[in-house]
Symmetry: C2
Amino acid sequence: MKIAVVGLGLIGGSLCKAIKKRTSYTCLGLDTDAETCRMALEQEAVDEIIAPAGLAAADVVFLCLHPRQTIEFLLAHLGDTRPGALLLDTCGVKGAVVDAVDRPVHEAGRLFVGCHPMAGREFSGFAYAVDDLFERASFIVTPTALTDPAALEQAERLAMEIGFARTVRAAPETHDRIIAFTSQLAHVASSAYVKSPTIERRAGFSAGSFLDLTRVARLNEDMWTDLFLYNRDALLAEVDTLIAHLGEYRDALKDNDADRLRALLRDGRERKERSLDEQGGF
Amino acid sequence: MKIAVVGLGLIGGSLCKAIKKRTSYTCLGLDTDAETCRMALEQEAVDEIIAPAGLAAADVVFLCLHPRQTIEFLLAHLGDTRPGALLLDTCGVKGAVVDAVDRPVHEAGRLFVGCHPMAGREFSGFAYAVDDLFERASFIVTPTALTDPAALEQAERLAMEIGFARTVRAAPETHDRIIAFTSQLAHVASSAYVKSPTIERRAGFSAGSFLDLTRVARLNEDMWTDLFLYNRDALLAEVDTLIAHLGEYRDALKDNDADRLRALLRDGRERKERSLDEQGGF
């Protein structure tokens, strides 16, 4: 089987490396950056670099571009892919992407499954791609009424072969509502956290909690702006929820109300522990 | 030299273990819980368990209790300590503790230095104490006009012997203002984060960002309520600052303003990177 990976950034590059490490499939890489292509060949992350016309050789195509570019590339190059090919995106938002490409791909006689490999790092680009990025990660698939059941199963099987820890099925809207909380809100909160002027005096005063809270403030602002705006309603609701809850702690502090503050903290601890008990680390 | 440790919880127990591992000092332990005392002896974290009267044998006394109990214990048992003994607290807030004990200790002819070992875990109690808890941590000392310079230097030297990575000097109020941001705000934000009802649907949808943002929601609510209220003004200002900044992201989202959102995220990334460049991990 031949798998093409379009976009050899952190996710695409790591997919190539995991495919080469764990399967015997042929891996075809496509990227607009010549240096990236050279590195991918040199590190044997891909067997071959292709142009869009070369997509015709692929049984499976992974699109590893930002949401806007994923939609554009897929619609522009549908004709370059082989009839019956399995096309998989890897965007962090699913509703907008699936809505835009599901029907056109179906009508063109190709198979599409919306996917979200739940992994990342604070760094972008092929230089940071690693073959074990997905080892503890979920591979989420978001089927719709148009999704071919065999294609869905093939996508899930492939994810397990590549080394994901688990696959999860969810409707695109369900995915987006939950991801607004588990991933997008974390990036907003982390980014807002570092805005306090006190950060400039923190040398020597930081333990793990500060580092944990602010790690993902180091993000790719172009990609996350797109992801946020494609999932605006769900993320807005989560940001408002967080602001409202922070206001409860603020009010308890302002009122010097130890009992209320303790109750808020206890409730938070219990929710966190319940979530760990029921769901483990993921 | 004999070092007494009062309160064999996570911090006190870890101090004992680090003292026994890295120095040849005698370690005396004091705790109201018989099972804790038994474990500390069994694990050779202490050479001897003492009652308050036994403090007279100690050259150095580490108080490892919550802020309220630290103040109470120190004032109640000052007469049990040896004249000239070095008394060190380990509370996460310094202004309130130092204000309460600095002069009484001085007038009683003992030496006091306010200290904050910047380390912790999501778990409390001796059972979680480890001998390497402080290996990458700062040991902050907060001298005042009453602090004996030789006592301050002895506290710093002892911290390095015990294995802290560095010592930092700061006025108690400076410590409290910065710690409100680097530690207390992290616990408030994390505790508020897990309050979204979406947490109950997160299974399979979490990557590192969610786990990092919510790790410290698992806290000891009694201790943190005290710490927060002893540092109320500084923490209130930081919570208000965070809420105001979150509001900027919310407004940019609401207005569907990609440029504003991107600028907010870019600014956050740059602040985080600058803070890493200038100050490293701590």
